[in-house]
Symmetry: none
Subunit: 209 residues, 4 copies
DNA sequence: AATGAATGAGAATTCATTCAT
DNA sequence: TATGAATGAATTCTCATTCAT
């Protein structure tokens, strides 16, 4: 019984945390982390100021909480790409699309979190170690395998992987900076990117093919 | 004589402004805009707190000042790319290298400015209108011309231009987020990117060619 | 119950506001509004600096708060004078005495508030519209009625009313400027003023009568 | 020669001081002493910030300077009233008119100086000792003499003198507080006041006479 | 004498965090 | 648990005053 109480309790706590994080996401992404007061978060969550501190040690932990949820999303989807059946083009297109599908719905989260991530060394390291580095490592292994199998041109794997990740990530940042074209035509991007990154810009190639 | 006094005065003011902006760049990029106090900037610049306000209306104007210098750098180098002699590959490699040569030395500036740029809507709009939009427009015209001349594969110009810009910009951001690989091997990137973006990843193409 | 909690809450808030206003009155009247820091008020009220801002939007609102209390006092006593039974001399003596009884206990408030009232156009307008103009209008109506009834010499009502008000108000100001005679003999003033303003200085009149 | 240089010098200094005081009067009366910066005064006077400190020890001395000029005006006119020929009514009307003629052109000076006079104990004492007390003393002697001569009703001289002074002074303050009636009809006031203060309000007296 | 850049003490205000209820 | 009043450290910005030119 105590056990069941405990888990009901835990679920309630998780719900409350989630509710506060949702509020934090909303206000942080609108006004930025620093311009947002804990009171803003509390109001948005419909709780009192002090209640925030029952679920989070301090204001920064709200950001960490958002980061953790991002991390979970990333991890949940990491396996997806592993199913690399078919030819390289199919694999790559799927890979790209999946990467973008993770990023796009989290645009608001990035708007909320990225500024502080760039400015706060501690947070940056946390994110790098927990999210970026593992993701990069996984991608490197994928691409290395593809290259081994001869399905991909021989290239510098670490830099290429980072370049591809950057293309997607950079598009997100550009959009966060106000680029409307990217925002409105996001769904078209996977195809454009697939062509660009698989076939390249060079006309010679395209024509010969 | 008054004239010369005036210009000497102006030069002194410009020097002082520059000295303060240099200090702001240093401390902002290290601790972030919000964690840095005006006093930190003053100390770093070797002046009194109040002196800052002789040259800048408020703390945010320090950021705008850094942004303006970035803008000037960008504009100074905008013409360079216009010299598009030779074949597309040469043009593109030059274009890429130039883009990166602008960004790389300004990595610190971006570390200082980007977080606030992402978080502050007003600043964001300023940067977008003054820097991003014009730069994108110029690039679109370049690429459109190249495509017309048949030197480049037919592609969606707006999205492709943004994708390429994002690749470079995203690499910068990824590096700012702590990726050591990008930081240490930055000089190798132009070549890797040229291959990636001109020829693509697809082994078929590479082999057939 | 919620209702009672609410009103208890409100009473607490009103108490706190009053406590802070009392402190503000003390320190403002001693050192002047501008020479007094918010910290001074806080210390005098026995609260922390920040607490002031829970009850007042800014330093000036403390002054407005004092002004409002003055206003309330004035309004509460406005009716009193309406009971104009008896002859004109009785009415006038009562009127004068009442006017002075309102002013005199508020001498400190005026010391605190008047300087800023004279210097701050916005505040001045507020006070003029909320207190002075209505009070003058009421007085004009009283005196006009008395004149109509033939109980008072025919005179220019607006200027006479202002002259009488000024005599009382001016005595207060003179006392605030350091005149000890007025301060020590305040209670004798209503009688002296009644004689002066009803009978005049002219010996001829006095003798003939 | 040194002497003449000296006096030329002195005249120049006096002129400069006057120019700065005029500027101070203008800006103080518009914005109030505390809301006005030394830079405001300097700009209004058409000199540099530092120049102010060549002629005045500090900001408060500007106020003292204005007060001194007021003092001089008062003293210059003190004798005027001494010419008390004719009957009491003529004397009193002349006295009143003169008092008001001193005050009225100095309304701006009072707007500039009075708030600080009320708020600053030191300044208040200075003004009281240098201006108010002597003026009151002179007036008391005048009125005492008139009373001795039987030209004036027997009254409490100190309080009556203060009451009369307050009527005039209070009208000025009321006008500074925004009363338009007083401002527009100032010239009519001496007559109204003469009637009020000499004959009184009481209809009985007026009718019998 | 005049200037005005530089100074730095000081003030208003904000806000993360605590804690009694 | 939840509340929100209270706290007071911290921060931005102002401005009287100084002083080298």
């Amino acid at each position: 019984m105590t056990d069941m109480q405990g888990s009901a309790q835990e679920k309630l706590v998780a719900t409350r945390r989630g509710q506060i994080l949702d509020a934090a996401l909303r206000v942080f992404s609108e006004q930025g982390f620093h311009r947002t007061t804990v009171r803003d978060v509390a109001r948005a969550a419909g709780v009192a100021d002090g209640t925030i501190y029952i679920y989070f040690a301090n204001k920064t932990e709200l950001l960490v909480g958002l980061l953790d949820r991002l991390n979970e999303t990333a991890q949940r989807n990491e396996q997806l790409a592993a199913s690399s059946a078919g030819d390289f083009r199919t694999f790559f297109a799927a890979y790209l699309r999946q990467r973008m599908m993770i990023l796009w719905p989290n645009a608001r989260v990035f708007q909320a979190v990225l500024p502080e991530l760039l400015a706060n060394a501690e947070l940056r390291d946390l994110y790098f170690r927990q999210v970026l580095a593992p993701t990069t490592a996984v991608a490197e292994r994928f691409f290395a395998a593809e290259m081994e199998r001869g399905r991909m041109r021989r290239m510098d794997i670490p830099l290429t992987v980072r370049a591809i990740a950057s293309t997607v990530f950079g598009l997100l940042v550009l959009q966060l900076l106000g680029d409307a074209e990217i925002a409105t035509r996001w769904e078209e991007l996977p195809d454009v990117l697939t062509t660009l990154l698989l076939d390249g810009l060079d006309a010679e190639k395209g024509i010969t093919a």
